[in-house]
């Protein structure tokens, strides 16, 4: 049941670029935070909030809303940006990220900001929470759906696989999880830190319906959410292949940009690049 009309893909692509600019600006202002995963998850979240997710920012507690559980809490800059752009709170507030008394904590806290479904930051916990919500929805005979975004490195955590079994055991077809497969975690490439492949076969063998997509292709993202909703009898895992730091060339595919905010000229260069390609000299300078 696809309730919403699809937004124009070109418009969403433009919006994704604007979201990336906001992420850079807010991280630059905060002086710390996690650009790599925030940038890699932009289209995944854009597809959700601009197309698939059923919600009302004026009524964040609406009982029939779809739920989005961010399990990899450190990429909250992309979630905050999208929430602000979708009307949950004023955009100016993005510049309070990580500051004292801000509603935008370094990792999301649901008691501070309406519209967040959970507090998260300790990895590996979100999928279990999503399972609980999906079970609750079923008990209440509600048709809302539950979405959960995990990092690929996050799936090192054993609890993720406990939750994978539970979702499959209870045939939670109202649950759709997404892995932001950017292939990097803090200590390096996921395959060097702790081998994850074959991600697809692993999730399939746990009883999930698995969809692999280009996580920066908005159309593929939206198609995957639709396919997940059509899938019966099992939960769906979307493996979204992405590039860590996507959109800012000096951050792309670099583990060191996992948890370091851009500074000074880096901010300007990143913003400039998100509007147009920078010169080779500018790039080299930024890397230095």
């Amino acid at each position: 049941m696809e309730k919403k009309k699809r937004p124009d893909i070109k418009e969403l692509e433009k919006e994704a670029t604007e979201i990336r600019k906001d992420i850079i600006k807010m991280l630059g202002e905060a002086g710390s935070g996690h650009p790599g995963g925030s940038l890699s998850s932009v289209e995944i979240l854009t597809g959700l909030y601009y197309y698939k997710l059923r919600y009302n920012p004026k009524k964040p507690d609406w009982p029939d809303r779809d739920r989005f559980i961010l399990s990899k809490g450190h990429v909250c800059p992309s979630l905050y940006t999208i929430m602000a752009r979708c009307g949950y709170f004023p955009k100016e507030e993005l510049m309070t990220l990580r500051k004292l008394h801000s509603r935008l904590q370094g990792h999301p806290h649901m008691l501070y900001l309406s519209g967040l479904e959970t507090s998260c930051g300790s990895l590996g916990q979100g999928l279990s929470i999503a399972n609980g919500i999906a079970l609750g929805a079923r008990m209440d005979k509600k048709d809302y759906r539950v979405y959960c975004l995990l990092g690929d490195g996050e799936t090192d955590e054993g609890q993720v696989w406990e939750a994978a079994m539970t979702a499959s055991h209870y045939k939670l077809n109202n649950l759709c999880a997404i892995i932001d497969r950017n292939r990097l975690q803090i200590d390096g490439f996921t395959e060097d830190v702790m081998k994850l492949e074959s991600v697809k076969e692993r999730w399939a063998s746990f009883g999930w319906h698995v969809i692999e997509i280009d996580g920066h292709n908005i159309k593929e993202v939206m198609d995957a959410y639709d396919e997940a909703e059509r899938t019966k009898g099992k939960p769906t895992m979307i493996i979204a292949h992405t590039i860590k730091g996507k959109g800012v060339s000096f951050m792309e595919d670099k583990a060191e940009w996992h948890g370091v905010a851009p500074k000074g000229e880096q901010i300007e260069l990143a913003l400039k690049e998100l509007n147009m390609k920078p010169t080779k000299e500018q790039l080299e300078e930024a890397e230095g």
Binding site: S119, Q125, I129, A130, M139, Q159, E162, M165
Partner: protein, 314 residues
């Protein structure tokens, strides 16, 4: 003859009652449903019971998710596995967001017996009371456990209830008042206060009998709620009796006695002694043997009282 009943039975009975009276109550189990007495609920309300398997971390966060849909989930397994293994889940997902999850920690204390150290939870009071928003209850018998469980369903936010494996004397009655956060004086006395929780309330009452024969008048306070703690009752005991012995079937460090001492030291310092596990792991043995081995029985309390009285001011 005093009735003997395990506190876990009180928990199991209360869950069944909640099943009948409160449709929001759901129960989750981690393969220990018989032992934690949650099986009784599961058999009567199969649609509201979720078996999660041997996966405590997943169980706690699944419960968190259910609470976010308005359910009142009760999760239970042995204290070591729930308070220890799933501590981060309890901390960051449940307590941080003040989620309405109720936690039943079974097999508290060395009186678990022959299973030995791995299964004897001796640290949960410390681990749970340190968490903001958490409430911690250690009931003294099966009837009080029943009341504590019923109460937990009424209040908002996370609650930890500790109970034991063995049958112990039922020392309260159905009409004994139980008020969360309010200590109950089970015996009046003026020379020393025995402040206890769980099974140690029973040992404290025995100790008070023995002390009476020695001419010492001991007050016995059942401090079932460790958090929020009843400061008033503790300060009153310090002022009126001038000496305190805190008794717990749990590590002394950071636990129940420490919680009492925090109140005493800041408000009305008097000499204190601690009965509890002294920085050791548990052992296999019968419950009776272990209570003696770990210096937790009434004669140990009597000795501690005699010691603390030597240091009593004026």
């Amino acid at each position: 003859m005093t009735e003997m009943k395990a506190t876990r039975d009180g928990y199991g009975e209360a869950l069944v009652e909640l099943g009948k009276t409160n449709p929001k109550v759901v129960v989750l189990g981690a393969d220990l449903t018989d032992s934690t007495r949650t099986l009784w609920f599961a058999e009567k309300f199969p649609d509201r019971f979720f078996e999660i398997g041997i996966a405590e971390q997943d169980m706690l966060n699944t419960a968190a998710g259910l609470s976010l849909t308005g359910k009142i989930p009760f999760v239970s397994t042995y204290g070591v596995f729930i308070a220890g293994r799933a501590w981060d889940q309890i901390r960051t997902t449940i307590c941080y967001a003040n989620l309405n999850v109720k936690i039943g920690g079974a097999h508290g204390g060395v009186s678990v017996g022959p299973d030995g150290a791995t299964h004897q939870a001796l640290e949960e009071i410390t681990l749970m009371r340190v968490l903001p928003n958490m409430k911690v209850i250690v009931p003294c018998d099966a009837i009080e456990t029943y009341k504590a469980t019923m109460k937990a369903a009424e209040i908002k936010g996370p609650v930890y209830i500790r109970f034991g494996r063995e049958k112990i004397p039922v020392i309260t009655k159905k009409d004994t008042p139980f008020k969360l956060g309010k200590a109950a004086t089970f015996r009046e006395g003026k020379d020393v206060s025995l402040i206890a929780c769980g099974y140690m309330v029973c040992e404290s009452l025995k100790a008070a009998e023995k002390l009476e024969k020695k001419g010492v008048s001991a007050r016995v306070i059942n401090l079932h709620t460790i958090k929020p703690i009843d400061k008033e009752a503790i300060i009153k005991a310090a002022k009126e009796t001038g000496a305190i012995v805190a008794c717990e079937e749990h590590q002394i460090m950071g636990g129940f006695g420490s919680a009492v001492a925090e109140v005493v030291v800041e408000n009305y310092p008097v000499p204190m002694r601690f009965i509890g596990i002294q920085d050791r792991f548990g052992e296999s043995g019968t419950p009776e043997e272990l209570i003696k081995e770990f210096n937790l029985d009434s004669s140990d309390i009597v000795k501690a009282v005699e010691e603390v009285l030597k240091h009593k001011h004026g």
